[in-house]
């Protein structure tokens, strides 16, 4: 397989140097986008009429939530690929993405709490999106716990792939059920999705920060997968050559 077109980079050995070149590209892209996004968020976007300056948390809360969700789907994609093409590297990419996705899920919850307190009065609000993100965080922790518990890397690859795929099928169902549950109890809780009316600049700020988070995730995952490759291909010739 190695050498033919699309699959040229599917061997850890050939992907390793490619990833190495891409990490700084995406890293600097993330930094630039973050600067731009924060500029839009703090210098350009106006103060919100109702929420004052507190609403500016939205520029990290929403992008973090987006990335947590999106990353989980990407992990599911790599997991499916690892089954279809039986490539070690696909499973390694799934493994590499999980910690960053979990981090964004946590940040989304944390920033949601600090946004909720001044805006709605409590640190935690059982609205549909926050609750779904909490469950998503548990799904991430489950993936990482399963990976840590299974000693054989190939068995761990496949087990985590099954878990990720079952989880990803479940994510829309979970989201739907939590939405339903939330609307039933409309009176008792408030929704953080009833965000301030979006000025265009606010939306732009969120989008740019979302792109920044995306670029950062790619950079972090590519860096992590390089370490994973070194760990798991330790027996191979080319890795020994690296440290000579």
């Amino acid at each position: 397989m190695a050498g033919s077109g699309f699959f040229r980079f599917s061997s850890p050995a050939s992907f390793y140097p490619l990833a190495g070149r891409l990490v700084p590209v995406f890293g600097w892209l993330a930094a630039a986008l973050t600067v731009a996004g924060l500029y839009i968020g703090f210098a350009v976007a106006p103060t919100d009429f109702q929420q004052g300056e507190a609403y500016r948390i939205i520029f990290i809360h929403v992008p973090a939530a987006w990335m947590a969700m999106f990353t989980y789907l990407v992990i599911a994609g790599w997991s499916a690929a690892s089954f279809v093409w039986n490539t070690r590297l696909s499973a390694m990419m799934a493994q590499a993405l999980a910690p960053t996705g979990a981090m964004f899920a946590f940040i989304s919850l944390w920033s949601g709490a600090f946004w909720g307190r001044p805006t709605w009065g409590t640190y935690w609000v059982w609205d549909a999106r926050l609750t779904s993100t909490l469950i998503l965080l548990f799904l991430y922790i489950g993936l990482m716990a399963l990976r840590a518990t299974i000693e054989d890397p190939r068995r761990a690859d496949r087990a985590c792939a099954v878990l990720a795929l079952v989880g990803s099928v479940n994510v829309p169902i979970i989201y739907f059920s939590v939405q339903w549950w939330n609307t039933l109890h409309q009176g008792a809780s408030v929704s953080l999705t009833a965000a301030p009316k979006m000025a265009e600049t606010m939306l732009a700020g969120m989008l740019v920060m979302g792109l920044a988070a995306w670029a950062y995730t790619i950079a972090a995952a590519l860096h992590r997968v390089r370490s994973i490759i070194l760990e798991r291909e330790a027996h191979a010739r080319w890795t020994r050559e690296l440290v000579r």
Partner: protein
């Protein structure tokens, strides 16, 4: 051996095994009632409050009790090597697994459904609500059994223990919990429980159709 025979074989065998270790099964049921009893002790035995929270508590207790019984599903066979034999056998593994999980549900899930009215009485639930609670458990416990089977198969022989199994299964079981407990509330609010029951029914069917294949895959993965 064809699929039907394999299911019957797995069912018969595991039911016989369950009959022999009735104590193990009884413990799961005792745990269910124990958990439901904890809540009034931890809160206050105000009848209105208890009646209100009963569906949620019964459902959480059922979730936890079904988790408790899970290691039984594969642990015994895994320990004496017969699970590996089953994986290598001529009969289709999904069918064998289906028989096992069906037996597991009959031994631990079905009794929970039948015990639920007791929990309902503990909390002063009105008969109509008890009826709906039982119906949701009847439809939901098979889903829990399949989610648990997948989790148990993935974690075969690992040192993760019950906590890891709970971590994997509980998030996936959230929709079942929401629709199961929500059904009772919804019917109390006069909105009827049909939608909830239909969704639970759909979940039961989906889990019975896909569960065997995913679980069999997970079992095979554990043996590589």
């Amino acid at each position: 051996m064809n699929a039907g025979a394999a299911i019957a074989w797995g069912l018969r065998r595991d039911l016989a095994l369950a009959m022999r270790s009735r104590a193990e099964v009884a413990i799961v049921l005792a745990f269910f009632l124990l958990v439901t009893s904890m809540f009034p002790l931890g809160l206050e035995p105000d009848p209105a409050l208890l009646s209100k929270i009963a569906p949620g508590i019964a459902w959480v207790a059922a979730l936890l009790a079904s988790l408790l019984g899970l290691p039984r599903l594969f642990a015994g066979d895994h320990a004496d090597g017969s699970l590996e034999q089953l994986a290598l056998a001529d009969a289709p593994l999904p069918a064998l697994v289906a028989g096992k999980v069906l037996a597991h549900w009959v031994a631990t899930g079905l009794p929970l459904v039948l015990l639920a009215p007791l929990a309902g009485i503990q909390f002063g639930l009105e008969p109509a609500a008890i009826g709906i609670l039982v119906a949701t458990l009847a439809l939901g416990t098979p889903v829990l059994a399949w989610l648990g089977a997948i989790g148990a198969a993935l974690t075969l022989g690992t040192r993760g223990g019950a906590a890891l199994l709970a971590l994997l299964v509980l998030p996936l079981a959230v929709p079942v919990l929401v629709f199961g407990a929500g059904a009772v509330e919804s019917s109390r609010a006069g909105l009827g429980a049909q939608a909830h029951l239909s969704l639970l029914g759909a979940g039961a069917i989906l889990s019975m159709v896909f569960g065997p294949f995913v679980t069999a895959l997970a079992v095979r993965i554990s043996f590589e």
